[in-house]
Symmetry: C2
Amino acid sequence: MAAAAPSFCPNRTISLSTPSHNHNQLTSLHSLRRFSVSSSSISSRCRLLFDSNNRILTPTVKASAAATPVMDQPTSSSSSAVPTTVDVDLGDRSYPIYIGSGLLNQPDLLQRHVHGKQVLVVTNSTVAPLYLDKTIWALTDKNPNIKVESVILPDGEQFKNMETLMKVFDKAIESRMDRRCTFVALGGGVIGDMCGYAAASYLRGVNFIQIPTTVMAQVDSSVGGKTGINHPLGKNMIGAFYQPQCVLIDTDTLNTLPDRELASGLAEVIKYGLIRDAKFFEWQEKNMHALLARDPNAFAYAIKRSCENKAEVVSLDEKESGLRATLNLGHTFGHAIETSSGYGHWFHGEAVAAGTVMAVDMSYRLGWIDDSLVKRVDMILQQAKLPTTPPEAMTVEMFKSVMAVDKKVADGLLRLILLKGPLGNCVFTGDYDRKALDDTLHAFCKS
Amino acid sequence: MAAAAPSFCPNRTISLSTPSHNHNQLTSLHSLRRFSVSSSSISSRCRLLFDSNNRILTPTVKASAAATPVMDQPTSSSSSAVPTTVDVDLGDRSYPIYIGSGLLNQPDLLQRHVHGKQVLVVTNSTVAPLYLDKTIWALTDKNPNIKVESVILPDGEQFKNMETLMKVFDKAIESRMDRRCTFVALGGGVIGDMCGYAAASYLRGVNFIQIPTTVMAQVDSSVGGKTGINHPLGKNMIGAFYQPQCVLIDTDTLNTLPDRELASGLAEVIKYGLIRDAKFFEWQEKNMHALLARDPNAFAYAIKRSCENKAEVVSLDEKESGLRATLNLGHTFGHAIETSSGYGHWFHGEAVAAGTVMAVDMSYRLGWIDDSLVKRVDMILQQAKLPTTPPEAMTVEMFKSVMAVDKKVADGLLRLILLKGPLGNCVFTGDYDRKALDDTLHAFCKS
Ligand SMILES: NC(=O)c1ccc[n+]([C@@H]2O[C@H](COP(=O)([O-])OP(=O)(O)OC[C@H]3O[C@@H](n4cnc5c(N)ncnc54)[C@H](O)[C@@H]3O)[C@@H](O)[C@H]2O)c1
Ligand SMILES: NC(=O)c1ccc[n+]([C@@H]2O[C@H](COP(=O)([O-])OP(=O)(O)OC[C@H]3O[C@@H](n4cnc5c(N)ncnc54)[C@H](O)[C@@H]3O)[C@@H](O)[C@H]2O)c1
Ligand SMILES: [Zn+2]
Ligand SMILES: [Zn+2]
């Protein structure tokens, strides 16, 4: 199937990766308008996205053009490279996302966001040998007053729990970290979510910096302030909305990432295209093989566009009243897969990929999308080497029991993100024919 | 010593308990001006309290006069009584505090703040037999659609920990509580702090109502949004700033409170007078015996004035950048006592009382206050049947080691709340002679 992939075209990419501010603004307004709400009970919950004249509020995300466009940026670890910056505008909790190659070689980027004299780097046993020394160097270079401690957690989703979280608190308290300290998350989404929740809770909130090192974390989990841990009965049930001081994305860290992890992150990239950015989806269809080949320029663009999409949505709906929920396309089915297969067996993005196929199938059964879109989704996920069906062992009952405790259940009604209309349009709704959900579950489960 | 207490004078009280809005506004501006900042490193952290012209920002707390002044309010459980309301103004997180006798007999007060269909009442094994049925009745009366669950935690500060917190999450998840559910804290400060942190964290934040049932909780812990749990190495180290939808204070619940618990809460009432409200302190000197005799009108006034003081401070400085820290008079010494004596042996207010005496002693050694104030503080605490010295077993070293990890340490410097000037004035500062601290510690410890 990789043979069918269109070739990666740098020219085309350059024009997309350096949008003018106005163009950007238009694009995002445009994608917002396409977010329609089909259930009346939902529309009242989305009110905050519209002003009193029912006009859609202006999105507040600005992508500041880098001095050099992404495609021309040196892929070497040049310490003078100017990072691409995506600003997440959340009033007094706004923060920049720096994206680029070799950013961990630029100490100033990190140091300008550390206010006190104490830093706690939270990482895991896989990432520590790869990037901990470099991170500590970046924090301390020409900055002798800073005291950096680190805590190395065991690696894996199964450790994203209260017990492991306590190890972060133990270390912080033993090291006498005070209110002005900064917690730095160095790792994938598991580390980012745990460190963020620890930062939100330690002394009722300390500074926090994200250094995401997986595709999943760079395009999704490090942006937007959702933090948390799992409960034995459900994923991400305990947590906080807590924004970092900055997100530093050094794309070089992807060089050590296993293929399967890389693909897992691409599931979220594909998601942004499907829910709100048709052009980005089309770009992905043409450039998927470049992403799989870890072309740094393709990645820089994919990360930038993903962060812009996520930042826009988050700026408009920080606490997930409506719009933000659309980022969970495929996630309700996906969470059921993750929970039932036991954390860690299926990667988050893999579960989301299979879940996306199920959501798309259901959208088609409801008559909301064309056959051709179903095929394109299946095709791009396969190209990305992602699963398009749930594990064989999953039953309809397993899906139903997990989905009943999903966070998107409100007053007993399960709301889902479904595609509706041409590519790039979705709805978040509890107003659908229950039979379509049943049919989808039965179509994807043996029993 | 109770014999020396001046008699309770209803006339005098009435005039104080029904201040006009303007008077109130003036008082609070006045007390703010008296909050001086003596360390330059601190003043920069207090900036948010002043506008760009360095004028003090207008306080935003309004006490709405009850239809009947507090002193005339019926002490019976009349369901038609109009509660005294103190509004805590925090923008879109503002909320009312209802104060009065028999408020749990007025279902509407609670029900207007429950938005979804699911409620989880969090209480403990002591309070449940006393008030759980009544609370459930108030939530469900003429409201058949509501589903109320409850979780009864073991009683005691030693259970204010992660393990007990998990029981709240377990119950919430087992009961399939969704994002629109409401957590209700029914109990003292331990329950309020734990339930609040659980509400802040469950599904990254659900609605939350406080029904405080101790003096401590009614005058202090239920107001202001500080929530949290203890860590084996320190009190309240893990938590969140999280505001409730409302606080419902039914003063009738104090009738079942043990004497020692009642006295413990009075330590915080006395604190408000000392740090910012000289008139209130003078009122307490005259009416302490009425409070100890549980005179409901005296209590209604003391609670109202305490909530107003706290609400004013919190409105101006929600996240404790400076001003709010003054609420911790006596608490740094007090926390050392609580931690060293093992949670639960000394009550919070008892430790605060002894800590207040130590802070006052140190203020006097620094030459910041008169001898007469030292005596008045000692006198009123003794009248309130509160301890005025730390436990015999405490050493200077025990104090120092706990104080070194206090939350008010910033970049290694321990800042303290100390009295300075006439009654009602305090400072929060790290700029004091270390010898005075040493002398105080040695004066109160045998070794
Ligand atoms: N907060 C959010 O908004 C959000 C969004 C999406 C996902 N998530 C969460 O993120 C988690 C999944 O994140 P993930 O996919 O990054 O998983 P992960 O954090 O477990 O990382 C995947 C694996 O890659 C390893 N790794 C990380 N960086 C590496 C590198 N540069 N080189 C080599 N190995 C590296 C990790 O040690 C781990 O073994 C889930 O817990 C999910 O719930 C959160
Ligand atoms: N969040 C804040 O801003 C803040 C402020 C001050 C104190 N606190 C916290 O509050 C806690 C202390 O609160 P507390 O003094 O209320 O202690 P508590 O909650 O332990 O209550 C004291 C005792 O009284 C019992 N009780 C409660 N209500 C009763 C009633 N109506 N009748 C009979 N018994 C009753 C309780 O079961 C308990 O045994 C500490 O953990 C402290 O850290 C928090
Ligand atoms: Zn995801
Ligand atoms: Zn206190």
